[in-house]
């Protein structure tokens, strides 16, 4: 039993989501190898080799993998799949983009967003926006799965000394091309790795008003999140969205400001350890799951909270 984990990275840095995926893969009960497909990604491979519990790192370094196009990376994974019993990727936009393409080419079902590994073939995953948890058993000989970061503790980033094997690139189908990206630059922690998150919703009313959320977040060393309503209204960019189809988070502290608490938003944050809700509508559903609720005008309460810390 050997599992191959697809590393999440940007050619320069290994992303923490990889560490949770390594833990999930190790729970399958065998060896764990990591695939780094990138361009100029030696440093990422070196970092992957230091992850505790990883025995082999495969480095496919080629210009065609520089932007992680699914059309190029999926055939590479398929070409390696013969040696593996399981292919695992974190539930990131990259993992979600690439892995079903691999599963279909291997003619196996993918198990999406696994929260818990029961055994080498049985897994728990959320359905219906997390309002139900399905325990599913795979009858395929090879398992292909994406795993939810919040379901598995991060493997230690250091302490391992895996062998790095350089492998050749697979044929590039040449039907897709990276044009460009507009990536948010921020000194704040990443949403999915943050210990504290301050999130704003429709109640913020404008993009300008988000500055009080950002200011509170900076005081707390927190990440900034948002509900779909806030993103749709253009108050803040999509990479901040927490929810069923956005990012799934489970920080120590989640402060929901001006968020009513639609089921789609709750799906993304209800596993947080402590939830605080600040909303002027005392009937807002968010109060049903909040540990501490404050019925107040957020424009007064948020600056006041920042001052009180």
């Amino acid at each position: 039993m050997t599992a191959l984990v697809l590393a999440e990275h940007d050619n320069a840095e290994l992303k923490p989501a990889t560490l949770n995926a390594v833990t999930a893969a190790s729970q399958l009960g065998g060896d764990v190898h990591v695939l780094v497909a990138g361009s100029g990604a030696q440093a990422v491979a070196d970092a992957a080799a230091r992850i505790a519990g990883v025995s082999v790192v495969l480095l496919a370094d080629d210009a065609s993998y520089g932007n992680r196009l699914a059309e190029n990376i999926a055939p590479l994974i398929v070409s390696l799949a013969g040696d593996y019993d399981a292919i695992v990727a974190p539930t990131t936009t990259s993992g979600k983009n690439i892995l079903p393409r691999v599963a279909a080419q291997l003619d196996v079902a993918q198990i999406s967003d696994v929260m818990k590994v029961e055994s080498a073939d049985t897994f728990v995953r959320p359905i219906y926006a997390g309002n139900a948890l399905a325990t599913v058993q795979s009858t395929d000989s090879k398992k292909v799965m994406t795993v939810r970061g919040t379901g598995f503790p991060a493997a230690a980033a250091t302490g391992g000394s895996a062998e790095i094997r350089t492998i050749a690139a697979a044929a590039n189908p040449g039907n897709s091309r990276f044009v460009g990206a507009e990536l948010a630059k921020s000194d704040r922690p990443e949403l999915t790795a943050a210990k504290i998150i301050v999130s704003g919703g429709r109640g913020m009313g404008s993009s300008g008003a988000f500055s009080i959320i950002e200011s509170l977040a900076d005081k707390l060393g927190a990440a900034v999140g948002a509900s779909r309503a806030a993103v749709d209204a253009g108050f803040i960019s999509n990479d901040h969205q927490v929810g069923q189809t956005g990012k799934i988070v489970a920080p120590q502290l989640y402060i929901a400001v001006g968020i009513s608490g639609a089921i789609q938003h709750l799906a993304g944050m209800k596993d947080s350890k402590v939830i605080v809700a600040i909303n002027k509508d005392e009937e807002a559903p968010i109060f049903q799951i909040a540990d501490y609720g404050l019925v107040a005008d957020l424009f007064q309460a948020v600056p006041e909270l920042e001052k009180a810390l």
């Binding site: 309002n131 990536l183 939830i275 540990d291």
Partner: protein, 249 residues
């Protein structure tokens, strides 16, 4: 160019799913069902491409029970030209859906297939990517902008870090994210007209596709409920609780 738009009949997005007492699944009896919201966005995008003169025909296809005809009629009322129902009462997993859709693509030869990025019932987020793999086509997933540029398309995608844009050759697969467009409501005259549009009913066997599931659902349970919290009256009380009771700041 033809555009194929697969649509799924799912629990309405405003309804909270309830797990059945015998833990075999989610109770869908007497529950409001609607078109998967991401699929509505897909239908809308196809219509906009047709309105812009970039497509000639829109074919909606659904895989599901007889009632999925209503979902297809909704797509037709929005502006799709004709519809195909592959009728089955079985659970059809994304891989089998992708195989059926490949068979429809082989028969209809569309230049573009636009799908919702995920269905809000099983939350799999697989079908578009799997269809792309089976066809050997490129994929623009989680799309927030789709532009026809020359012989191909440019798709701006919502990714974890922000947005990225890819250029794809045609034919291609697109899966929709929330901010691609705002779907229109069907007007009453269009709802009436939709009743007369062509809707073919087929079976999986007509396409020679084996749809037997690969996953066995052993049980479906409700997640652990959060214990109810308290309301605090002041910021001072909140800060005190966070520091001394919860110990999170």
């Amino acid at each position: 160019m033809k555009i194929l738009v697969p649509v799924k009949r799912v629990i309405d997005y405003n309804v909270k799913a309830r797990v059945k007492a015998d833990k075999t699944g989610v109770d869908l009896a007497n529950v409001k069902m609607s078109m998967n919201p991401f699929d509505e966005i897909a239908v809308e995008e196809a219509i906009r491409k047709k309105e812009a003169g970039q497509a000639e025909e829109i074919i909606a296809v659904s895989i599901g029970p007889a009632q999925a005809q209503e979902t297809l009629r909704t797509a037709l009322a929005m502006g799709a030209d004709r519809a195909i129902l592959i009728q089955t009462d079985d659970i059809v997993e994304p891989l089998a859906v992708a195989k059926l859709l490949k068979a429809v693509v082989d028969a209809e030869q569309p230049g573009l297939v636009i799908l919702g990025k995920q269905a809000i019932d099983d939350d799999s987020n697989q079908t578009g990517q799997m269809l792309a793999a089976l066809l050997g086509w490129p994929q623009g997933t989680f799309a927030s902008i789709v532009k026809v540029v020359g012989d191909g398309i440019e798709v701006t995608r919502e990714v974890d870090g922000g947005l990225e844009t890819v250029a794809l050759t045609l034919p291609a697969i697109v899966t929709t994210d929330l901010r691609l467009n705002e779907p229109r409501y069907a007007s009453l005259p269009n709802i009436m007209k939709a009743k007369k549009k062509q809707l073919d009913v087929k079976t999986a066997a007509d396409y020679g596709v084996d749809i037997s599931p690969r996953l066995k659902t052993l049980k479906v349970e409700e997640p652990a409920k959060r214990a109810g919290g308290i309301k605090v009256k002041t910021i001072e009380e909140l800060v005190d609780k966070l520091k001394n009771e919860a110990g999170v700041i």
